[in-house]
């Protein structure tokens, strides 16, 4: 018998992390993501893992990076201003190539903003929040089931590509409760980071394999190596040589970009004959689907495209859709962020309608139905 639970999104996200093999969490309390760390505080010691409540948000991500370097699958999580603080060391994990999962349960901003209310205003921050160029992987769940499953996926991508992966949840998804069927262990893929196979004296810590990802040793398992946030050469040592700088800077982007289609995830509904398409993600996609199902009963040819990976953005798929539909409507709980990516992919081939809500509420199905009727 499959285990069926009635869980909150934040709990499902944390339990998904545990199922993926996460054994370390460093965090700091903040609404609306605190339940993730509370769940971790309860679950990790049972499995011999470690949870630490740090003195601040930066400490939380620092400890998680440290634990990952020492060999544990690690995670931190936060919201709003806490995510702003974590940007500093997200950059560290990108350049030092440390696997890490960071959950962001989005709330309204800027600054303290709306601690208890929903928002989707961190989409661009997820991509560009920390300084410097890097490749971003970010997944947005829209159900409790998906909170669990996409967090497993996030860990798999973090371990495979040796970099941070973001789970962009939101206040509604994080605090909503609904049914979840817990996948049996062994029925889903779990990826672990590549370990070096050479002897310690021959180990060149940032020498990449053919897939552009270097194998990673853990501190304490016999290899001696240097980790730094400075731009470094294959030996992990700081460099000012233009060719070495270029090699590192381009590889950490290329290692993700070349596998883009394996990272991208999306879901379509009623798209076969659609003339109007709603593109939405996270909590908004739930209102959108309700609206689409109602209007389908009235024979309106409307479909739904839901990016699950916001980064990399499914631009190829959106470009294809734009060739066969008349209108794309993009409702978001922000001033217009993902819509820019949609417009870029559409490149003028159909009309793109921006719909933006900034009042801390979720779009209601009626409101989305009205958007569709405007163009139908």
């Amino acid at each position: 018998m499959a285990q069926v639970e009635f869980w909150q999104g934040n709990k499902a996200l944390a339990m998904g992390a545990v199922a993926a093999g996460c054994r370390f969490f460093g965090g700091y309390p903040i609404t609306p993501s605190t339940e993730i760390m509370e769940t971790m505080a309860e679950e990790l010691p049972r499995l011999g893992g470690k949870f630490v409540q740090m003195e601040d948000e930066i400490g939380g991500i620092a400890a998680a990076i440290g634990a990952s370097i020492a060999g544990l699958k690690s995670m931190t999580g936060s919201s709003g201003p806490g995510i702003s603080l974590k940007q500093e060391l997200l950059g560290y994990a990108y350049i030092a190539e440390i696997p890490l999962v960071v959950a962001n349960v989005m709330r309204g901003g800027p600054s303290t903003g709306l601690p208890t209310k929903v928002s989707q205003a961190d989409v661009m921050q997820a991509k560009w929040g920390t300084h410097g160029d890097h490749a971003t992987i970010a997944y947005a769940p829209s159900s409790i089931q998906e909170c669990y499953e996409i967090t497993v996926r996030a860990f798999n991508m973090a371990e495979r590509f040796r970099q941070p992966v973001l789970v962009l949840s939101d206040e509604i998804i994080g605090h909503m409760r609904e049914k979840i069927v817990i996948p049996e262990p062994g029925t889903f893929e779990v990826i672990n980071r590549k370990k070096p196979t050479v002897c310690p004296d021959d180990f060149v810590p940032y020498k990449a394999d053919d897939d552009d990802v270097p194998p990673m040793a853990a501190f304490g398992d016999g290899y001696r190596w240097h980790v730094t946030g400075l731009t470094s050469n294959d030996f992990g040592f700081p460099t000012n040589e233009a060719n070495e700088i270029d090699k590192k800077a381009t590889r950490i982007i290329r290692k993700v970009e070349r596998f883009r289609e394996e990272i991208v995830e999306f879901k379509e509904e009623s798209m076969e004959d659609a003339e109007i398409v709603i593109v939405s993600y996270g909590s908004v996609s739930r209102s959108s689907l309700r609206a689409i199902r109602e209007l389908r009963k009235q024979n309106v040819k409307v479909g739904h495209f839901r990016p699950i990976s916001l980064w990399p953005f499914p631009e190829k798929q959106i470009a294809e859709i734009s060739k066969r539909v008349k209108h794309i409507i993009v409702p978001e709980l922000n001033a217009g962020q993902m819509v820019n990516e949609v417009e870029r992919a559409v490149a003028g081939r159909c009309e793109v309608h921006r719909k933006n809500l900034l009042n801390g509420e979720l779009y209601k199905p009626d409101e989305i139905m009205a958007f569709i009727k405007e163009v139908a």
Binding site: A62, A63, G66
Partner: protein, 275 residues
Amino acid sequence: MPREDVKKLLRTKFMPHIWCPGCGHGIIMHAILRAIADLKIPKEQVCISSGIGCSSRMPGYIDACTLHTAHGRSLAFATGVRLANPDLTIVNVMGDGDGTAIGGNHFIHACRRNIGITAVVMNNNIYGMTGGQASPTTPEGAFASTAPYGAIDPTFDICKLAEGAGATFVARATVAQPVMCEQILKKAILHQKKGFAVVELVSYCHTQFGRKNKRSRPMDNFNYLKDNSVMKAKADTMTAEELKGKIVIGEFVNIEDAREYTKRYDEVIARAQKA
């Protein structure tokens, strides 16, 4: 010349190092390496972590598991390393600005947690790498590029700060006492089994601090430290007036029966697994 067993702890291929000729930091690095060599800790079980600044470039030159983190954050990184692998020996080096200004919060909480890390604060009273700005330990009245008319900020006493925050081993020496540095470091490294050890090693920066404060040659600084160091036992007999401008050296805290954080976390695991 370093001893053979000390030389084996060096990554000579990453040299020359970035420190100015005559810098006090080399004395500290040498003392750390002698302590590790004497304690016969296998180098693959040693983690040297650091923040950002001149002091924090040290890990790169040591052939161990070395972690050059972000400015001020080294103790928070090291906390994660320690929790993930309690068997490692962790020596965390940082500067005065790195450790007590931007990293001040991580510093006091690592003390409070009593986590098994040896924290070495290499105090040269200045931000050297960025060109000589005032730090939390720049003496009142001293000149710095950001205190061109003399510093007015009162200074931190790093040892008192550590003691007040709960560190279970606290000691100070200056680079003018290299043997004492080594002896304190050995005790502080062994103390990791019992908890958090803070070692303030007073160094100097003749390039950035000395040049603005009439101590521009390395030996001016070395002699200054030698002449103004006072052993704790003697300092205990001196008045506050007599101690003005003096550097009190010695061991201030050594709690033998302290309970280290990861050992306490093992108790959490036992309780969770029983529940």
